[in-house]
Amino acid sequence: MIKILFFAALRERLDCEQYLLNSDGQTMPVTDILEQLKSLSDNWQHELSRSDLLCAVNQQLVPLHTTVKDGDELAFFPPVTGG
C-alpha cells in the first residue's frame, strides 16, 4: 500500500486529502502513479497535469521520475508559499 497525500489548493481542488493505492508490493515510478490518478476523472487529469506540481517521497522533495515502493508516503502539492 502506498499512502498518497494532497495539500493546500490541490487538496481543495481534488477534494481529497489522502488516497491509498494498492501497489501489490511492486516498485514503480511516481509518473506511473500519476497516470493512474489522472485516469480517475477529468478534474484529476487536469489538476495533476500542472507543470508546477511538486512531489515528496517520505517527506523529501523529489523529481517525478523517482521510484516508490510499498509502504512509502507520497505527497503532491502546489509550489510552497511559506515564510
Binding site: 497525500l5 493546500a8 522533495l61 509550489p79 510552497v80 508559499t81 511559506g82 515564510g83
Partner: protein
C-alpha cells in the same frame, strides 16, 4: 553549532530567541529575520491561514539549517515557523543566526529564508474583503535561489 527548529501555532518572542542566540560567547554577530503578515495593496486583509505538511516541514527546516551550517561558520541557528490562522501584523516566521563573523550571519540568514520560501511545505491562504485566495508562489522567490548556486 546548535540548531533549533519549531513549527507551531503559538506566537514566538524575539527577545527570548535573541537571548538563546547570545549564549555563545565566541559569537559577536547576531542577525535576525522576522516575517510579518502584511497589508495587501488592492483589498483589505482579514487574516491568513497557514497550512503545512506535518513532519516534512520540521525535516525541511532542519535540512536547510544544516546546509547553511556547511557553507558558513555558525554558532547557532534558530528557525520558527507558525501555522494555523494569523491576523494582520502578526509574526509568521523567525530566522536567527549567531556567528563570529557578521558576513556569515547575514548570508546564512538570507540563505535560509530563500530556501525556506522555495522548499519548506507551507502554504498561505489569504482571507480578504474579496474572498479567500491561496497565495501564488512568486517568481522573485525562485529567482532568489540562483545567487546561492
Amino acid at each position: 553549532m546548535s540548531v533549533f527548529v519549531a513549527v507551531q501555532s503559538d506566537d514566538f518572542c524575539l527577545a527570548s530567541e535573541y537571548h538563546e542566540l547570545r549564549r555563545n560567547a565566541a559569537c559577536g554577530a547576531v542577525v535576525t529575520f522576522s516575517g510579518l503578515v502584511r497589508e495587501l495593496n488592492d483589498t483589505a486583509l482579514y487574516g491568513m491561514t497557514l497550512e503545512h505538511y506535518p513532519g516534512m516541514t520540521e525535516q525541511a527546516l532542519i535540512d536547510i539549517a544544516k546546509q547553511a551550517q556547511q557553507r558558513w561558520p555558525l554558532g547557532a541557528v534558530r528557525i520558527i515557523h507558525r501555522v494555523g490562522t494569523l491576523k494582520p501584523i502578526e509574526q509568521i516566521v523567525f530566522v536567527g543566526i549567531a556567528s563570529a563573523h557578521r558576513a556569515a550571519a547575514f548570508a546564512a540568514c538570507e540563505f535560509i529564508m530563500d530556501y525556506l520560501k522555495n522548499r519548506a511545505p507551507f502554504w498561505k491562504k489569504e482571507h480578504t474583503a474579496n474572498g479567500e485566495y491561496w497565495v501564488d508562489a512568486k517568481a522573485s522567490d525562485q529567482q532568489a535561489l540562483t545567487r546561492w548556486e
